[in-house]
């Protein structure tokens, strides 16, 4: 069990070396657009405290239940446990979900109203985040949502077998609990309406998202049986789709494309094929998504682009003509002369991206200038949920700066001494805990969620696997007797005899290793390789290895 010193023993640093340490040493957090304190909440789960784990998630990336299911997990490929020789990444996302499943409870922080009113257009991930953050700062926030339910893409763009409605509802509720009002079925049509809104609010933020499918224009695109990915999903989600599916071809390489194939599978299609113009590695979805898709018997064609939609006399789709591509160094593609081929289909779905609603997109106009911002996909083009959240957070800060007149925000690193991390070396050998899933035979049930989540026990086991990278192991050179006891017990090549130390341009510390005893200046721990097993601390006879916990906190510059 960790023995944390009193708060006033904590050393607060603003040194860029220490800031850099976090980026390099807590790869998961660094990879997360929202800089979530991942080791923080996983450690909480490890200690059986799902409530704290939930609170960390709830405050740092707002939508634990949702992101615990549909986040594209930039953190997992970065996880230290997945590095060469070290096994597989921790199932961070599943753990986040566990935090929500077992630790969810209302966060009722003390909020002192500052009397200012904010209007957010769009109840998607970006909008919700802005509302949440500003509400916590004491603003009176109102969200206007065009559909009858809040959530935007979360509600309409993602099929229920990945993200059930009630999960979205719960996460939204915990935001409305902060006093945020959501008015549904309110559509802001154009700039004039925004201008009107600005009269009654101190600031208006447009987070309209990218709810419109990007169109492509190839011969036969308007034949019967051709759909746009997002429309197809929204229709399916709103139970508005009742056509028989036989052979389906989905064209695209993103989440929407994959969702379309899997939705088709549930709508009873016999043969489903996903076609993408580049290779597997170039797709925007994780390998996990792909495997789930393949598991449901969906075929794939790579390095092939559609050149023509083949249809019969009644203009009904009969297939797609593709051409093979070769891929170039810069991942761009060149079609291969005469390599065309036709694949039969009765439904063709184009899921080649989304774009913002054009009508209200002329946001450059003069009357909008001050006290108006745009956020999320509406500004940046379609991205992932976590990126939308991160962007929402950024915008919320800007708005808060303008309205409250604070100087800005600053990263501070809180370094505190720790006696023992509570980890054991054998945790490193715990295998990844598999996510329980709905049996194949029930996959056809349209709205049955496929991933059923970790049991509480499983979440504890999986959490143990986390290296807790936020701990910094360091040899106090002035007390070291060079006895090599630590090197003797190191689990990987993490402790080195160093002849020099450098600060790289990007502000990272780098040790120059040497095997020549005569050159050795110090025995050093390479935090980059360190897996935080604590073997060295237990072995050191002169107790010269210290553990300190690094935590990033952003504070207001008054």
């Amino acid at each position: 069990m960790e023995i944390q010193n009193r708060e006033n023993d904590t050393f607060v640093s603003t040194d860029k070396l220490d800031r850099k340490w976090i980026d390099i040493n807590i790869p998961c957090s660094a990879a997360c657009p929202a800089l979530t304190d991942i080791p923080g909440y996983i450690q909480a789960i490890k200690d059986g405290d799902h409530k704290t784990a939930y609170r960390i998630n709830r405050m740092e990336n707002i939508l634990p239940g949702i992101l615990g299911r549909v986040c594209d997990r930039p953190c997992e490929p970065a996880c230290r446990h997945g590095w060469d020789e070290l096994g597989d990444p921790v199932s961070i996302c599943f753990l986040k979900r566990a935090a929500a499943d077992y630790g969810m409870e209302p966060v009722n922080p003390k909020i002192k109203s500052n009397g200012k009113k904010i209007c957010v257009i769009g109840a998607g991930p970006a909008g919700l985040t802005i509302a949440n953050d500003l509400a916590l700062k004491g603003y009176q926030v109102t969200i206007l949502e065009q559909f009858d339910q809040p959530g935007g893409m979360l509600r309409y763009g993602i099929p229920q077998f990945r993200l059930p409605y009630d999960v979205v509802a719960e996460d939204v509720k915990s935001i409305t609990d902060l006093g945020v009002t959501i008015k549904t079925n309110v559509r802001v049509g154009d700039v004039k309406e925004i201008v009107r809104l600005k009269k009654s609010y101190d600031a208006v933020i447009l987070a309209g998202g990218c709810a419109n499918s990007k169109q492509t224009n190839i011969p036969g695109i308007d034949s019967k049986g051709v759909y746009w990915g997002l429309d197809f999903l929204i229709a399916a989600n709103r139970e508005e789709l009742n056509i028989p599916l036989e052979k389906v071809i989905v064209i695209g390489g993103g989440f929407t494309a994959v969702d379309c194939t899997r939705m088709s599978y549930r709508l009873g299609a016999k043969k489903i094929t996903l076609a993408y113009r580049r290779t597997k590695d170039d797709m925007y979805v994780g390998t996990h998504e792909l495997e789930v898709m393949e598991a449901e018997g969906i075929n794939t064609i790579f390095l092939a682009s559609p050149v023509d939609i083949v249809s019969n006399d009644e203009g009904i789709v009969t297939g797609v003509k593709f051409i093979h591509n070769s891929i170039n160094e810069d991942r761009s593609i060149t079609p291969i002369e005469g390599s065309e081929f036709i694949t039969g289909a009765d439904i063709v779905i184009f899921a080649v991206g989304q774009k913002a609603d054009g009508k209200i997109a002329e946001t450059e106009s003069a009357e909008l200038k001050n006290n108006f911002s745009i956020a999320g996909d509406f500004r940046n083009g379609s991205s992932t949920v976590i990126e939308a959240v991160a962007d929402g957070r950024k915008v919320a800060r800007e708005v808060h700066m303008q309205l409250s007149g604070i100087k800005g925000f600053q990263d501070t690193i809180h370094i505190s001494e720790v006696k023992d991390t509570g980890r054991k070396r054998d945790y490193d050998f715990i295998p990844v805990q598999p996510m329980d899933t709905t049996p194949m035979r029930d996959r056809k049930i349209k709205n049955r969620e496929v991933e059923t989540g970790f049991s509480k026990e499983k979440s504890l086991v999986e959490a143990k696997r986390c290296y807790l990278c936020h701990y910094n192991f360091q040899i106090d050179i002035s007390r070291c007797i060079y006895c090599l006891a630590c090197i003797d017990v190191m689990p990987v090549d993490c402790i080195k005899m160093a002849k020099d130390i450098k600060v790289t341009e990007d502000g990272n510390l780098k040790y120059i290793e040497t095997k020549k005893w005569s050159e050795v200046e110090a025995i050093t721990i390479d935090n980059d390789k360190c897996i935080r097993c604590g073997n060295c601390v237990r072995a050191c006879p002169v107790d010269c290895i210290s553990i300190s916990k690094y935590k990033l906190k952003m504070i207001e510059k008054k």
């Binding site: 050998f429 017990v489 689990p491």
Partner: protein, 585 residues
């Protein structure tokens, strides 16, 4: 593949649990009734750069030596094990660690030296050990687990061994070690499911494992050892540790003295007081003791010095075997100082021989130097020792009532043995000294006294012969080639003779635990019956051959092996073949 005899070597740096590996594997095999012989070789460093290896040979047949060649080499450390590859038989196997930390250069990699005739098997030893124990301990058990599967030996027999070897440790230590074993076993079953068969005779009884050192200590205790004084020295310390453990139980005691000089001093004192006592040491210690040996000769106080020979001279090769101390044992010391020198040839003789040594020392009031060696002393093997327990044994020549009248401690007698009384016994008292003395023990430097006393001290060695065992003669009586050997070399000689026999060459062997004095007639008869005589031994000079030459005037073919490892039977067989071809020309 089916096997009835296997030789396995664990190779690594001291600290990898190499020795423990040998112990567990050997114990397990002995338990299921196999014949086992184990030889450990480790450097004098406790840890760090010292290389260490344990070779275990087990068979359904009786074993006499470590044989030639390995069926399996387990390289716990890559670089250190490369040289051992040359000992692996054609068709043999190697297990190497695939989870060592950091890059390995091609030339330092064990695997890169494996030839196509040999099969390498990767095993993540370090990793699995970490998984099981959370540290680097248990590497050896991971390997043993793999071996167990590889030769399809029954796992239970190993689990039991692990339990008994770690019996003194807490339960969880035992558990993690068993876990390590299982991980190794499972890994091989997963990755190398095709394994080999080793024929085990289900009916055979468990066998006892013992080392030469164990046997000596036990033999001494069983024949009445009461007091032990010594000083830790490789490879003899084990004897002292056993004495320290056992003697107090029998009303005796063991003292660890500040050095060998003090140790043998204390032993002399105990004998003076009439108690059976001994010390055990190795070359350097024996050298230190030589002055005290002279004292024992001069004062005719019995002494037993076990010398477990190691490589010399000086501090030499503390962890390597050599038969280099024969000369110092026979001749070392000032003046004309005769002493008995014995050399057991196997563990059984370590037991019976030390008992003989005590009886002779006590009866003839003389120092006995008992020459074991590192290989014989430290190797563990399955043996059948005929126990002979009589702790009240006494061969001391006590004075008759007449003799007690004006008692002469150094009375001149035909057999040279004078009556001896010890403190606490009623009847007489006497004083002794390292100075030359008269029959009473009073200092006396007169010429005829000195020559008379010297003659008396030597006369004991002639009369002694009747109590000594005849020399053993083995092999084909009609053979023209005769071999004479001593000490642990005999094992290799016997297997060498077997190999030669398979090639159709007859040989015979004469061996005796007695180096000095010997039953000279039996030797003379034997030598007379040979056309050629071969004398193999593990030293550079041919110290035993020199003795035989001077004593029997023979001209033997000498094989001198200043060896750090036990003699290879093949080497001896080759010499025999050469000799026979010379004969046939």
């Amino acid at each position: 593949m089916k096997y009835s005899e296997i030789t396995i070597r664990f190779c690594g740096i001291a600290g990898d649990g190499i020795v423990a590996s040998g112990k567990i594997l050997a114990g397990a095999c002995a338990n299921i009734g196999l014949h086992v012989m184990v030889n450990n070789i480790y450097s004098a460093e406790i840890r760090g750069l010292g290389k260490s290896s344990a070779t275990i040979r087990f068979s359904t047949e009786k074993l006499y030596s470590m044989g030639d060649g390995l069926d399996l080499l387990v390289g716990m450390m890559s670089k250190e094990s490369i040289i051992d590859l040359r000992d692996v038989k054609v068709g043999g196997n190697v297990i190497y660690d695939t989870s060592t930390i950091g890059d390995v250069a091609e030339e330092d990699s064990l695997a890169s030296h494996i030839t196509p005739e040999i099969q390498g098997h990767g095993l993540p030893i370090k990793k699995l050990a970490n998984e099981a124990t959370g540290t680097n301990q248990g590497k050896n058990l991971v390997a043993i687990g793999a071996i167990c599967y590889f030769y399809s030996l029954p796992p239970e027999m190993f689990i039991d061994q692990i339990r008994s070897v770690f019996a003194h440790k807490e339960e969880h230590i035992i558990d993690i070690n068993i876990k390590a074993f299982n991980l190794g076993y499972e890994y091989f079953r997963e990755n190398y499911p095709l394994n080999n068969q080793f024929e085990i005779d289900k009916r055979s009884e468990p066998r006892a494992l013992t080392s030469g050192n164990d046997a000596i200590a036990k033999g001494a205790i069983d024949c009445g050892l009461k007091f032990f004084a010594g000083y830790p020295i490789t490879p003899a310390t084990k004897i002292m540790e056993i004495a320290a453990k056992e003697l107090p139980k029998l009303g005796g005691w063991t003292l660890q003295m500040e050095d060998e000089i003090a140790a043998i001093g204390a032993v002399l004192g105990a004998w003076f007081a009439g108690k059976r006592a001994m010390t055990a040491t190795s070359g350097p210690g024996l050298s230190l003791m030589s002055e005290m040996i002279n004292m024992s000769v001069m004062a005719e106080i019995p002494t037993i010095i076990v010398n477990v020979q190691r490589g010399g001279p000086s501090t030499g090769l503390p962890t390597k075997v050599e038969q280099g101390d024969l000369n110092i044992a026979l001749y070392g010391g000032a003046g004309d100082s005769p002493r008995v020198v014995m050399a057991p040839t196997n563990s059984e003789e370590c037991y019976s021989g030390i008992q003989l040594a005590f009886d002779i020392a006590e009866k003839y009031q003389t120092p006995v130097i008992f020459l074991s060696d590192l290989f014989l002393g430290q190797r563990t093997e399955t043996v059948t020792i005929k126990e002979n327990i009589d702790r009240n044994r006494c061969t001391r020549k006590k004075p008759t009532p007449e003799q007690l009248e004006n008692f002469q401690r150094y009375q001149i007698t035909d057999d040279g043995v004078s009556p001896l009384i010890v403190p606490g016994e009623p009847g007489a008292v006497y004083s002794t000294t390292g100075l030359e003395h008269s029959v009473t023990g009073n200092p006396n430097y007169e010429e005829d006294v000195h020559s008379m006393m010297t003659a008396k001290r030597f006369r004991k060695f002639e009369s002694m012969v009747e109590d000594l065992p005849e020399a053993d003669i083995l092999g084909e009586e009609t053979a023209d080639i005769g071999i004479a050997g001593w000490g642990s070399t005999i094992g290799s000689i016997l297997e060498g003779m077997e190999i030669a026999k398979k090639q159709g060459v007859k040989t015979k062997l004469i061996k005796s635990i007695m180096i000095h004095p010997q039953h000279e007639d039996s030797f003379r008869k034997f030598f007379a019956s040979c056309k050629k005589i071969i004398v193999p031994e593990m030293n550079y000079q041919g110290q035993y051959a020199a003795l035989l030459k001077s004593r029997y005037g023979i001209k033997p073919i000498e094989i001198h092996i200043p060896s750090v490892n036990p003699v290879s039977p093949l080497k001896i067989a080759q010499k025999i073949m050469e000799t026979s071809s010379e004969l046939s020309q």
